[in-house]
């Protein structure tokens, strides 16, 4: 059997000394390489670059919004703290018996202040109860004393039982005082 002759030889066609076939093949190689690089390297890179860029700008925008929100909230908090400075400071203070006697001396003669107990109030506060005995000239002293408590540096509540007993020129007044302050655990 005769073996078929399948040998292939690129023909040489030259125009003005330029090998047309060879140059065409190089050109084809260049095009194929370009397409391959675009398809498998550049295109995925562009896709992930675009995705990252989009995500970057979205996150940047969210960050700007969150920063503005934070600044607004901080300003609000500072305003709130400033407008309630008196209350915040009053609730931080301990009860000073001597200072209280001095304060109450304008309205009554305090004879004794006795601590009864101390309990946690609404989780965040500490309520300490005192029994106070004093002498007043008239009930008006008592009313003025309660009005003045608004301007006292600690937070005090007058509570039952309240006893008025007439004693010669004076009235013996016994009442319960409740002092409120921040629970030290919360204050920390």
């Amino acid at each position: 059997m005769k073996k078929p002759n399948i040998s292939f030889k690129i023909p040489k066609i030259k125009i003005y000394g330029i090998d047309v076939i060879k140059n065409f093949l190089f050109f084809a190689l260049f095009i194929i390489l370009t397409l391959l690089v675009i398809a498998f390297i550049i295109s995925p890179a562009i896709r992930s670059f675009k995705k990252s860029k989009k995500q970057y700008y979205q996150t940047k925008y969210t960050l700007e919004i969150t920063t503005n929100q934070y600044k607004e909230k901080l300003t609000e908090l500072k305003k709130l703290q400033n407008s309630n400075r008196k209350i915040i400071n009053a609730l931080k203070r301990d009860f000073d018996k001597n200072n209280f006697r001095l304060f109450a001396s304008k309205y009554m003669n305090v004879t004794s202040i006795k601590e009864i107990n101390s309990t946690v109030y609404k989780k965040d506060f500490l309520k300490t109860t005192y029994i106070m005995t004093s002498k007043i000239k008239s009930p008006k002293n008592f009313y003025d004393f309660i009005d003045a408590l608004k301007n006292y540096k600690s937070v005090l509540r007058v509570y039952f039982p309240i006893d008025f007993v007439k004693n010669k020129e004076n009235i013996d007044l016994t009442l319960k005082l409740e002092h409120y302050k921040l629970n030290p655990k919360k204050a920390k």
Partner: protein, 168 residues
């Protein structure tokens, strides 16, 4: 052997092939450089995005903290105002009760409790007490009991015990 032409050195790669190869290599290098540039930019963007995200999480935590602080300030304010209002109410209720005492009646002691009021005093007659003092007390309290003790001068010492029913 003799040749009529002088031999010329034959290059391994022809001039035009060399040009093509250089051109293709430069192109591929440029393509890869461009892809690398994009990759580097992508990595930078991703890193920045991550740092932005961390910052956002941190800011949101701070915002939550601020909200908690604000709530706590409102809680303190509410407590303070509540106490001040209760003090004023206490003063007003005691003042109103003491203002109810008519002139002929003298009080020796008065004891205010949460739901109870005990009054000790002196009245010229039981009728004066019953006419001037009992009606307002009965209008305020749910239960009123009065005990009289006659004194040597004919006046009466009295003890009035008044109760308020607790709200259900």
């Amino acid at each position: 052997m003799y040749s009529f032409t002088t031999p010329k050195p034959k290059p391994l790669i022809k001039e035009d092939t060399k040009l093509w190869l250089i051109f293709i290599i430069i192109s591929v290098v440029l393509y890869i450089s461009f892809a690398l540039f994009l990759e580097i930019k992508t990595v930078i963007y991703n890193k920045d995005t991550e740092s932005f995200n961390r910052e956002i999480v941190k800011l949101k935590q701070q915002i939550t903290q601020i909200d908690l602080q604000k709530q706590f300030i409102y809680k303190q304010k509410t407590l303070y105002e509540d106490i001040m209002v209760k003090n004023s109410l206490m003063k007003d209720s005691i003042k109103n009760l003491l203002d109810l005492i008519p002139d002929p009646i003298t009080l020796n002691s008065i004891s205010f409790d949460k739901n109870k009021l005990i009054i000790y005093g002196i009245t010229p007659t039981q009728d004066i007490y019953n006419m001037l003092m009992l009606p307002p007390l009965e209008s305020i309290f749910t239960q009123t009991k009065t005990y009289f003790y006659q004194m040597s001068n004919g006046w009466y010492k009295f003890k009035s015990v008044n109760y308020l029913k607790e709200k259900q």
